[in-house]
């Protein structure tokens, strides 16, 4: 669980409405590029109705809880109808967890104008490498020798630390000074002091180099032999079909038939079990013989194992984790073998909807640079939240008390943006709803001229106009007294703006049910809508990603304003504020509308996008 407070952004793949995060009509998305629901591996069919009770799902969530929430909302404001409720993003929804990510983990597709989460990208391997020796492994070697390092990288089977080579027989260091050490050698774990001599029989190497080859010779395990046998057998059976059998549909059918044949059990292969009737002629040749042998259990051997366990005790047996990391699943520590290091990959990532590449790392193993890197951090404003009063304990929020937080929106774009933040008045999806108020939900955020500023900052002290007020000085006054900045923009600097958000958690009983449903977790959904004016022909220079086209964009921004158009997009994010604690004496429920704050629903304009029929939240309220 992330530590509080955290902010996760909902990837649009969560939405049944595919166009929620979209640019406005001024730049219509071409239908071919527009992602549709089936492009995403959504766990629930897109026809799933969006009624609140369904969204809660599960037997644990009686629909009564929603009725009660609605009742509160109805008393509060008649306009808070169920339709509004329906549009709210519910962080407690079981599906929500699949699409919520910190902004750092999200990508952005410039062609779809959409956020892309790890679920909606497709990985393609650029290269394999060993994470220990950092050598690249050619894909041909991976295919032939498997996905483990074939050099000298081995891990301790006991504690997973890296093994080093040491001579078995210690010779005095004075004689060692000039000569090469003499064998035989052990693999030694410098963390837990395990050596290959601890094995029964002890495993000792002749040379300190080419360990893989030596080990392969020394430890032909039954399981490895079995695998080699299987591999050879299938290779033989497949014959010519082996090359690229996954690429041709006919070969694939054949292969499938082959497996179904085995599944249908031994000799009955080809006798036409359900679904294998459509086999081609070639399949008949691929008859699998004796490959699905029964595992032999020899009673003597088992009794021997039991006796060894009895005599050696628990300490001599491998634990589950150690056992499963070994291909032959040994029962005793003396049977554990050094494990070769698993290879890692560098991968490029494609948008599943439009197939454009979003991330492409440089293929050299040791470099961390990217050829293409379209990360959401460079495209969408990021939110951060911090306590306004340092006394607030995030893991123990006081019920009925008004907690003030500072919500900061940072603009990564080179154009100034105007931001609207919308929240449901009460946190959705729970019987114990907290009251949420953003005191200034509409504001501007300046353009990101970061590149230039930082270049100057590194040589000079920060220029005076950039620091109008220090946040530390405001903390002192903000406590209980009314601060004029509370209801307006709290703080505004170069490319970020901060506003105040008030949270009043309810009293939540500590019962088994509330614990199971983690009702005390306080998560606030916020709908962020962003509008800005951008260059019309921005598409031409977008290829450079965030930093690359900075100069071009900045120059263009300074140029003619005629070729500009309005761009609008929006997304949901979830702020994990903290956990509600036990009620505190003296802090009681107050009238919802009495505390210091600006009128509910400070004018929030309806979205200008005509296509956005289902506008979320307090749109109705704003029309009053």
């Amino acid at each position: 669980m992330s530590s509080f407070p955290y902010i996760h952004i909902s990837c649009p793949c969560n939405e049944d409405r595919p166009q929620l995060m979209a640019v406005d009509s001024a730049r219509p998305l071409s239908p071919t590029k527009s992602p549709t629901k089936r492009d995403f591996p959504a766990p629930i069919p897109s026809s799933a109705p969006q009624t609140p009770s369904k969204r809660r799902g599960g037997p644990m969530a009686p629909s009564a809880s929603f009725e009660s929430t609605d009742t509160i909302a109805d008393i509060e404001d008649d306009n808070d109808t169920e339709e509004d409720e329906e549009n709210n993003f519910d962080p407690r929804d079981q599906r929500a967890a699949f699409s919520l990510f910190p902004i750092e983990n999200l990508l952005y597709c410039e062609d779809c104008h959409q956020i892309r989460c790890p679920r909606c990208v497709q990985d393609e391997i650029v290269c394999w490498y060993c994470p220990s020796c950092l050598f690249e492994v050619p894909s041909s070697t991976v295919k032939s020798d498997g996905n483990r390092c074939t050099r000298n990288c081995y891990l301790c089977p006991i504690c997973t630390a890296l093994l080093v080579v040491i001579p078995v027989n210690h010779t005095s260091s004075s004689t060692l000074a000039t000569e090469q050490p003499v064998g035989p050698f052990n693999l030694f774990c410098s963390h837990c002091h395990w050596t290959t001599s601890d094995l029964i029989p002890p495993l000792q190497l002749e040379k300190p180099t080419s360990i893989s080859a030596q080990l392969a010779k020394l430890t032909p395990s039954a399981q490895d032999a079995e695998f080699t046998r299987l591999k050879q057998h299938y290779a033989q059976q497949l014959g010519n079909a082996q090359e690229d059998f996954t690429n041709s549909p006919a070969a694939l059918t054949r292969l499938m038939g082959l497996y179904t044949g085995i599944g249908s059990g031994g000799g009955s292969h080809g006798s036409g079990m359900g679904g294998v009737g459509r086999k081609g002629r070639g399949v008949k040749k691929l008859e699998m013989k004796e490959i699905d042998r029964l595992r032999e259990v020899i009673e003597e051997k088992e009794l021997d194992t039991i006796e060894r366990m009895a005599t050696l005790g628990l300490d001599a047996t491998a634990n589950t984790k150690q056992r499963l990391s070994q291909p032959h699943e040994p029962r005793f520590l003396t049977e554990m073998r050094p494990t070769a290091v698993l290879l890692r990959t560098k991968r490029s990532k494609r948008c599943r909807a439009c197939r454009h590449i979003l991330v492409k790392p440089e293929s050299k193993v040791q470099t961390t640079r990217f050829r293409i890197r379209l990360v959401a951090l460079n495209y969408i404003p990021s939110l951060t939240i911090k306590r306004l009063e340092p006394t607030i304990q995030l893991t123990n929020l006081t019920p009925h008390k008004t907690h003030r937080f500072l919500l900061t929106v940072t603009n990564p774009l080179f154009d100034p943006i105007s931001v609207s933040l919308l929240t449901p008045r009460y946190t959705p999806g729970t019987e114990y709803a907290s009251r949420i108020t953003i005191l200034c939900p509409e504001f501007e955020v300046g353009a990101n001229t970061d590149v230039w500023d930082d270049a100057l900052m590194s040589t000079k002290p920060p220029p005076p106009p950039v620091v109008p007020t220090t946040p530390s000085s405001s903390f002192t006054g903000a406590g209980g007294t009314k601060d004029p900045r509370m209801s307006t923009v709290y703080e505004q600097k170069r490319n970020y703006t901060s506003v105040v958000i008030e949270v009043v958690p309810p009293e939540i009983p500590d019962t088994r049910e509330t614990r199971i449903r983690d009702e005390r977790l306080l998560e606030v959904p916020i709908f962020v809508r962003v509008e800005f004016e951008a260059e019309v022909d921005r598409d031409d220079e977008e290829g450079g990603g965030g930093g690359g086209s900075a100069a071009a964009k900045a120059a263009a921004a300074a140029g003619n304003p005629l070729g500009r158009e309005k761009v609008e997009y929006s997304y949901w994010c979830v702020v994990g504020i903290g956990r509600v604690g036990d009620p505190v004496e003296g802090v009681v429920a107050s009238e919802p509308n009495t505390p210091v704050r600006t009128p509910v629903g400070t004018p929030v304009k309806a979205p200008r996008t005509p296509g956005m029929s289902k506008t979320p939240l307090r749109q109705r309220l704003a029309r009053e």
Binding site: C159, I166, H170, S173, N186, C192, H193, W194, D315
Partner: protein
């Protein structure tokens, strides 16, 4: 038990040093804090890094020959029977040792905490951040690794380790200025 804040950081301190018996071949760095009243004995060839704290308020401390005590380590005698380090004991940085005994050839790696009057056998290895509870006994050749898991070391690297310690001491003697006379008032 919290170590007494007697603040005897150097010889200039006003509080009296405990009775010290330092072998002339031992190397003591600058800024070692000695406190307490019971005698502290440091064996031949032993090295003590700067910012170590040795507290003999409740009992004597005896450090054997060829030991290395790294910086920021606290040695606190648990009781009247004192704290005895055998020969070839390597204690890495940030350790807090209140043990009664650490056997010959044992090493305590970074950040090890040994509880009050615990006893560590010979040739033991305590991996970083290991904790040993009060009065616990760790038998010879034990390796404590991972999340306080234990196994018996059968690698036979004991002699090699002692030789490495000797070479280490030789190296440190070239690098560290010896301020032992400062404490030998």
């Amino acid at each position: 038990m919290a170590p007494k804040r007697s603040g005897a950081t150097s010889s200039t301190s006003s509080t009296p040093l405990p009775p010290l018996s330092i072998d002339p071949t031992a190397v003591l760095s600058d800024a070692i804090s000695f406190s307490g009243i019971y005698p502290i004995t440091i064996g031949a060839n032993s090295i003590i890094h700067p910012r170590c704290k040795l507290n003999s308020s409740d009992g004597p401390i005896i450090i054997g020959a060829n030991c290395i005590i790294s910086e920021k380590t606290h040695l606190i005698a648990p009781d009247i029977d004192g704290l005895v380090l055998g020969d070839f004991v390597l204690i890495e940085v940030n350790c807090s040792i209140q043990a009664a005994r650490i056997g010959e050839g044992s090493s305590a790696e970074v950040g090890v905490r040994l509880g009050k009057a615990s006893r560590i056998g010979n040739n033991c290895t305590l991996s970083p951040l290991t904790t040993v509870s009060d009065r616990d006994f760790i038998p010879d050749l034990t390796v404590i690794y991972g999340e306080n898991q234990r196994r018996i070391d059968s690698s036979g690297t004991g002699i090699a380790r002692c030789e490495i310690i000797l070479a280490h001491i030789e190296c440190l003697k070239k690098l560290l200025p010896n301020k032992a006379e400062k404490y030998n008032r």
